[in-house]
């Protein structure tokens, strides 16, 4: 396993194996993070590709000695924010709703009556959250960022970030209780 510094140095020398190592070390992680933001396989794949195409252009400016992940996380967050904003600027949200209806139609609550305490309820509840609230939750609880760091990463006022987090977690807790009550 190469260190971040070794990978960056190879990349900055223009060596392909450096970039290949970077992909091997971080492609899955970027995909997972993009997926947790966007909750859609195709969108997450597109976003992953966009992130690394940006890296191809920008790697020369990266400062060696800094860890790669915070930078990649920022590029991933920006890329996904752009996609979320473009999607919400589109007047038509019908395809998303349709997909959701189909998903809930395919879901049979009876068959899962005993599985209420596994992750599934949480995954479904996360699907339903407004995208920016979900992004704040992911940055807080999977990335462990502070409220301030989330505000900087998402380029939002601190108050907005707090509101997003409080609302999202209240929604999720209530969803969890409903799920437990039903099961």
């Amino acid at each position: 396993m190469r260190t971040d510094d070794e990978i960056i140095r190879l990349c900055q020398k223009g060596r392909s194996e450096g970039f290949s190592l970077l992909l091997a070390a971080y492609q899955d992680r970027v995909y997972r993070r993009a997926y947790s933001f966007l909750r859609n396989r195709e969108d997450a794949l597109d976003a992953t590709q966009d992130v690394f195409l940006r890296v191809v252009q920008a790697i020369g400016h990266f400062r060696t000695g800094s860890p790669i992940w915070p930078w990649l996380r920022q590029v991933t967050t920006n890329t996904c924010l752009n996609r979320i904003r473009t999607a919400s600027a589109r007047p038509q949200t019908v395809p998303l709703d349709e997909a959701r209806d189909q998903a809930s139609a395919a879901y049979d609550p009876e068959s899962e009556a005993l599985a209420t305490w596994d992750r599934e309820w949480l995954e479904r509840a996360l699907d339903e959250l407004p995208p920016l609230q979900r992004m704040a939750v992911v940055l807080r609880h999977r990335e462990g960022l502070s409220y301030d760091e989330i505000a900087r990463t998402m380029n939002l006022p601190l108050g907005t970030v707090k509101t997003y987090l409080f609302r999202a977690r209240k929604t999720l807790r209530e969803a969890m209780e409903q799920e437990n009550g039903a099961g």
Partner: protein, 140 residues
């Protein structure tokens, strides 16, 4: 007694409350099973949220790895070409600019004297015409 707001319960679980506030919230919790239940819910929720879902990554990522590597090679290739062009251009450009400066200085000076003889009026007109022509060109 009023129940505490959900945001305070969340912050209690996260450990982000100031001590005096935390003390007040804890006093309330001792007396209120409903808020204790909510706080326990947030504790469970935050633990669950911190766990990454163990999902398979899609097989497309392998093909993407190869495509991105090609994009990388193309970008570096283009960079090397630009670098070569730049290196071969720099001396030529430097020579040209030197030549240009030496030859251009004389006409500029003589024009300056003509302008000063005719007065600022002509210069203003010339400039105005050039600006309007440029504006027209820009609109096309």
């Amino acid at each position: 007694m009023h129940c505490v707001d959900d945001s305070l319960l969340q912050m209690l679980v996260e450990g982000t409350l100031d001590q005096p506030v935390e003390d007040l919230v804890r006093i309330h919790l001792r007396a209120c099973p409903e808020c204790r239940r909510k706080a326990a819910g947030y504790k469970q929720l935050m633990w669950d949220l911190s766990q990454e879902a163990k999902k398979e990554t899609p097989p497309e990522l392998d093909a993407m790895h190869d495509a991105l590597l090609t994009a990388w090679k193309d970008a570096r290739q283009a960079e090397r070409q630009r670098e070569t062009v730049r290196r071969s251009l720099v001396p030529a450009w430097a020579g040209y600019s030197l030549l240009w400066t030496r030859h251009a200085m004389a006409p500029v000076q003589s024009m300056g004297s003509v302008v000063s003889k005719l007065g600022g009026k002509l210069l203003e007109q010339l400039t105005a015409r050039r600006v309007s022509r440029r504006g027209g060109g820009g609109r096309r």
